[in-house]
Symmetry: C2
Subunit: 409 residues, 2 copies
Amino acid sequence: MASPVSPLAVAMPHLPAMAGVRFGAAEAGIRYKGRTDLVMAEMAPGTTVAGVFTRNKCPGAPVDWCRAILPPGHARALVVNAGNANVFTGRAGADAVSATAAAAASVVGCAAREVFVASTGVIGEQLPFERIVVALPDLQSRLTPDGWEAAARGIMTTDTFPKAATRTAMIGGTEIRISGFCKGSGMVAPDMATMLCFVFTDAKIPASALQGVLRRGVDASFNCTTVDSDTSTSDTVLLFATGQAAHPRVGVEGGRALADFAAKLNELLLDLALQVVRDGEGARKLVRIDVTGAVSAKSARRVAMAIANSPLVKTAIAGEDANWGRIVMAVGKAGEPADRDLLSVGIGGTWMARAGAVVPGYDETPVVAHMKGHEIAITVDLGLGRGRATAWTCDLTHGYIDINGSYRS
Amino acid sequence: MASPVSPLAVAMPHLPAMAGVRFGAAEAGIRYKGRTDLVMAEMAPGTTVAGVFTRNKCPGAPVDWCRAILPPGHARALVVNAGNANVFTGRAGADAVSATAAAAASVVGCAAREVFVASTGVIGEQLPFERIVVALPDLQSRLTPDGWEAAARGIMTTDTFPKAATRTAMIGGTEIRISGFCKGSGMVAPDMATMLCFVFTDAKIPASALQGVLRRGVDASFNCTTVDSDTSTSDTVLLFATGQAAHPRVGVEGGRALADFAAKLNELLLDLALQVVRDGEGARKLVRIDVTGAVSAKSARRVAMAIANSPLVKTAIAGEDANWGRIVMAVGKAGEPADRDLLSVGIGGTWMARAGAVVPGYDETPVVAHMKGHEIAITVDLGLGRGRATAWTCDLTHGYIDINGSYRS
């Protein structure tokens, strides 16, 4: 199973301790041997929470649970396991989540409905939740403010590197911090995918305001990335606000007081989302697709995602082939308004086709050099309006087949 | 370029001569060396025609031409070239089609608007149409009623075997014949693997009736198959009726008189469509997906196609892994009504999951044996209604990456 680290990997940044949250990881032996697979976080009383979940119609039991307990917006603990997704496990799956939440609530001293749970791994096998229940008391006793990296590593599955990011933001003249980690490297598509992301801030923000900024942030980050167009049953993004920072009060609507917070949160979410793409199964190139000139932003996004999801575009990039004809095909298959005779396509800053035809005698040298790099930039102008959007993906390589074509990976 | 013949290949059937149509192929040197790349068919006066074309918004110049001349429903000739798709070639591309049609009309003695043209191959390069124009007189002089196989071979690009099928049908007590050939091996790979399909019948059927049966037939065959989810800029299906058979008159509406014809046409189109899937780039397994219990047939089809297009399902099949969890994921991502707790998934006739949970102690032996075969059957029951649909695809293998990741394949 151990794949070499992605050539697009980035080093994990140092995440400083944050008032109001402590982390830990343990080896619960859920599926893997000799590595941590159970992560816990405990948050201070008064912590608010926001969440965004997969749109897959067959979600896992943990997603059902989190959706059900989210509305009051209170959280005291987070329990995540790797190796078993607890998806398609029927009544027993729901019972496993309840038991896990109850066990964590017992050691923390809170209500079970304040314990958020997430699972990632194989679908359709019963989660051996007794191993989690047994491991929690010792794990909770070892939680530490410096446990960020242990947590980021403990939730990995096919990930080849831990993914984390941190930012500071200002709320009413006071500096607060936002830090988070995530996992994901396949089954990653619009509407989030085998992707779990946990973000924490010491800011004090009402749950309703938190939910608004999180939803917009996810839409502008994770929902603009794709590895393989497949949408996981377990996608979860949770944002916890411990309320320990001393800044002017934020109203339930949030509003202008959260402008900088929202901007920095979006940066952090995009940073994490791109780390997931960089760790896309088999990925050797990170691809950015900018679409301009669409009839609307929504239309631009659909065109960008059609290009990002095209196997033919992605294999061409893997082959370092500046095959703009396949980009034209992908634009056309998006089903959005497009006029072939106004369409322009560029790669790495060189327009190869303009207004519906190849640019006569364009210099292929910089394009060839660009295709050999780790980061590929595709630009498409539809020439119709002012709508624009950006999407990110990775190339489609033999590595993807290797990882996903092996028995019950 | 020469890939080994697909392990799923079928032998080309013998297509008997048909009154009212003659075929031929020539080496025009458009792109390939040492093989035929130009195909011509000449049909008797009075031949009617129906056509269905790609939904891609950036179609090639030949598709524009065929759409424009289709409405009167008259055809006297067909000219097809392989190696260059004449797509995204601007004004020059349209001029190349006009010149080709005019040259064919001249040798046949018909109007240019009675000459249908199709091209397949590289996108964005000017079609050297002079080579076609020069080759047509000699090619036309050699047309023969026995030229079916030459025609089927002359339109191949990345195809590893020629694809043809034939059926007989009854119209008003008279036996007529339907025969056709096609090419395609990435349901749609703009560079070299567009799907082109040409079907001929000696029946005498008004163009309006012909169009209706063809559209329904394509919808139930080619539109239920996928290799890689990419939609070519050149996909074309044309059905020509030479009117040489002596059967009772068919009205402009078609109707009941065409019931058997429509049934046999659908069989033939599905036969051809499955040959394309069998020759899917890198395909080693043909996959049939039956969805039942959906809220509607349309919904069932969307679910079936979501499974058929899932890279994770397709790589699992390549790995001979009966990974039903990924099928659950694909059902959920289709966005159609689905209730996880009613969902059942079977492979090769064995139910692995029923009503939202794994079947305890199901016998994996026949499933493992089934996965090693060349033809894989997936069954999904949604448990909601009576909607059903079937889709076909192939597995996603290293071969697909090899074929599409090499420079300007």
